[in-house]
Symmetry: D2
Subunit: 344 residues, 4 copies
């Protein structure tokens, strides 16, 4: 941590800071510049982070030297993390997120009926998706919208998982549901609106299942990494990050997919990163180009929504791909993956 | 709901939409314009909201006629809602949020020690605050930061409440804590990061205590009203809204306090609205000007943080007012309130 | 400037930086911390600003010690600047922006007709506005919208100025028009879309008339101060800053008025600061509450639009106050000003 | 245009609106819904756009049916526009922006010296760039930063163009420089900060050279298309759009590149669209992944900065690629282009 003093800071101000910081067990190095005095604090910066150094008399600003995430940082863990999702069918290969292969997660937004779920599960498995997505608990802006089938949906998910033989990812919204969802799901999803639901992050940090964390609507990438840190610090290191669009002033798209999140996370962290172009754009016709962009930027996977009859979807119909368009998407991202030296 | 067709939409497209909408039980009125055909749908718009009309062939855009909130809207409830917080001390007047008087909620960011809590409670009560704020459970970006004293803090809050005789507001972060917190607190706070924790909103909608909902960091005011709608639709109509700053690109302030939220909410809703200039700005020297601005814009109250020794605060020290500065703030907002025909 | 090295930076990296920086004529102070090596650079930071220190091998980040503005900073000029706009009528007091009095600038969005301009000029002067605003050149998003009457409008402005006896502010959009506009206007306005039209800023820096700079739609306050620096560095120190709303995701308002810009600028700079609640909100019913908020936060003035018949306005009708509502606004901000120890 | 009336609008309100709109020469169709009365206005919507319908008594909201751009819209011009930049060397093929081939524009941020300019021009031509970029006039946030060599740079550009045989793109910042720049440049660039400098847009609309318009830092895509409309409406239809990052709250990147701008513009408009990952990210290590993403999303070209010795760059060094890295980028986007059925 570095403290920059105001131009008119006094000797007393300087002394007060140096003494306080030393009392806390840190060393200091004071450097008298042409226009400013600067105090370097030497010691474990993480112990300093809570301290309100900004308000000591004479302080103009406080500059952080270290990044606040540790377990999530690429410095901590030089090799890239590969999250394995074991196959449901004996003998099939596990899905590996963060390796050479690009993992596709696909499925309907919500579990609407048992029949539709099975139809989609079979379709996406046949077309190369490694994991099935489908919401049982749906976070909806309006209390009057379809809220998901809840436990009934979990039952269907459990059945489709075994019968079709495909691992499941589904969202958990409440600490009290974590166990219940973890019994069914192979991967637990923390939704964008819960990215900073710290109790929930801690709860999924204590189970032994992969966790996919979606970036919050106005979360910085540093905050996303700090949310991963919550899960990691509880002992669960199977964390997957997911860019799903941030909120900006643009109105043609539901959100603005920040594709640069992919190379930034790859530089800052060892954790795998996926992109959700369905929620990111909100319009089915933008999903395939953005999926291709994500793969070209180095994403470890994509997560997309499809629906057999989008006109009848109970949630997020406008962003759902028709099955035939999903098949075309798989082909196109396959080409891009090969161009990047990877495969789907 | 109004559907605008594409220039090149066909008769078949038009027919398909009209027929589908009629099957759903709505009437339609088709208007052939110079450049576009427009279909008006007549019936209960709320039943239409989930439907993905955007993806019907030939549709260019779908225009919403009605606002999605009902119970929270000023249309629903012509008089302004006044939320009463009963006094702890027999014989004292209740705090009334949404009336002529401007309510001040003040206290430390977190409960740090029993002693400091009592010191602050006495000070703020003596200086005109009607409700004491102090966090027991603290949502922190980093798992390594002080997370609040939790249940120990609830105990201190319960004691200070009775002994000093001041109602308490404190944050609840988890559905499983709602009961526990409601036993102690006079007002439950839903923090900005939980504004769209819909399970939590429903849970506080089922208790009989006032609820203060903070606007999320990137929430629109419509979404804030929809979160209120969750609480109201469960039967709890003691809802207070709170503007606490939104996230923008500006860096001098921690957030950007959207003061215009005050007159917008007053126009759109009957619910009272407060402003939190401490979190909104992140810097103690900006708190008083922004508190005055909030009162001048018509806010029903403000919520501010203070600390006896901000240098030692365990959370949010830079935005904490010294007690003497809080006293000065009370005087200044008193003047502004009188200028607006109100009182503090 | 402070350079933080990467954890794995080598001795060679360190030596290369230290030597390069010394070649540039700076001293360095190297501090070996627990986790990082930090290099302090001692010398005139402004000479370093262009240098891409970030890309030297081994560098993790570069921390700025000083703020980039000088002439605009409160450090440079301890007293607050008061910009005088001389009265048009002999014997009348000049308008003083930045003093005890709050200056109101009012008028129609555009000069539409000579008659309407005179009507409004007389009305606002009688009701306490010190300066008349009205656009001759209008920056419009669409080439098909009314673009202002241009030179014809300048002629009317010149006439109304003399006949009604009120100083004029009007926008200049093009370097080639600066002289022409400066012949008529008492204050030149740089619009939000031109806040970083650096040639234009330099051009108005070379004339001897006050300049009001509106904050750009996505400009940080630091950038606003840097735009002021352009004008100041050319020798014109009569600069007024104006907050007029920034672009966010909120849709109830046209822009989000950042009222905290007022106390931030007052702390960072000696320049006076005004607020434009008309453009800031885009809706007439929000103008008065936000004008009151601006005054309560310490603004040195406000700038508002009115129109005798908003239904017929050629630009920005929805945000124009009716004359009678403007009169009410004057009364209300008068009360708030008195509460703040100032006057209108 | 569709007008939604308030629930409590009166018959008089309705009559007043219908009569006024008819006086303006439009027809109306009134539809009495369950909760709202809705008025459809039939006629040329563009003539209505300036009218402040929002403020008529009884009006709740006004819904736009048509998009405000015409000449720029894909509806106006069914085929995609291909902008040709004639070769400098006789016999060489012109660069075609918007066709099957992906056009790469590359060069240093600024013209710094004649020698470096020649070195870079030769390098980029040899490595497949079709157009050389280099700034003569530089818009800089600080008046104390390097502002470009101006006319001296134009001279060098003219020389390098002929001697190396590569077309030139350079920025024009001022209406008074348009002619001068157009004499040298093959393509004129409108910078992000001038995207809404409407006089400048009109001025480049009157010359017969291609114009590349960069999206403003907080411009919506609709506004970008409206800026194109300014140029098109003056008769110049050689317009290229360029996404270069928008301003958000994220701090790891200088801006947030909105890759979804590419498919949105392709849907909404017939104009070609490029991406600038150098300004978009601000960091050289993010340039190649984002260039690949742009190509995968369907961009018609990319524009990148390189520098022989980024450590010595006078502007934007941190985002400049080393020549060898530029060569690698060309290879990588070549692979992606082929995967998309295109070439570089």
């Amino acid at each position: 941590m570095i403290i920059v003093l105001k131009k008119d800071a006094t000797e007393t101000d300087l002394k007060h800071i140096v003494e306080t910081v030393r009392e806390w067990g840190f060393n200091t190095s004071v450097s008298q510049g042409v226009e400013r005095t600067v105090i370097g604090i030497i010691g474990d910066e993480s112990l300093l982070r809570g301290k309100p150094l900004e308000i000591f008399p004479g302080v103009e600003s406080v500059l952080r030297v270290l990044k606040p995430y540790k377990l999530a940082s690429s410095e901590f863990h030089a090799d890239r993390t590969r999250v394995l999702v074991p196959a449901v069918v004996e003998g099939e290969a596990p899905a590996e997120i963060g390796g050479r292969e690009i993992t596709v997660i696909a499925g309907p937004c919500s579990v609407e009926t048992r029949e539709m779920l099975f139809e989609m599960a079979e379709f996406v498995k046949k077309n190369g998706a490694k994991i099935l997505r489908a919401g049982a608990f749906k976070p909806r802006t309006s209390p009057y919208s379809f809220q998901g089938l809840g436990e009934e949906a979990l039952k269907y998910l459990s059945e489709v998982r075994k019968e079709v033989g495909i691992p499941i990812i589904t969202e958990v919204m409440d600490t009290k549901d974590v166990e219940k969802v973890a019994e069914v799901a192979d991967v637990l999803q923390i939704g964008a609106r819960n990215m900073q639901n710290f109790n929930l992050l801690r709860a999924v940090g204590r189970i032994d299942k992969p966790v996919l964390i979606k970036r919050g609507l106005s979360a910085t990438l540093e905050e996303l990494l700090m949310s991963a840190e919550y899960v990691l610090s509880e002992g669960n290191n199977k964390v997957i990050l997911c860019e799903r669009g941030i909120r900006t002033f643009e109105t043609f798209t539901r959100n603005t997919v920040d594709i640069s999140a992919v190379p930034v996370i790859k530089r800052e962290s060892h954790l795998p990163v996926m992109v959700d172009p369905s929620h990111g754009t909100g319009h089915w016709d933008l999903v395939t180009p953005m999926a291709c962009a994500a793969v070209a930027a180095g994403a470890d996977g994509i997560i997309v929504e499809l629906h057999p009859r989008p006109e009848e979807a109970l949630s997020d119909g406008p962003q759902a791909l028709l099955p035939k368009r999903f098949a075309a998407l798989m082909e196109q991202i396959g080409s891009v993956a090969r161009a990047m030296g990877r495969s789907v």
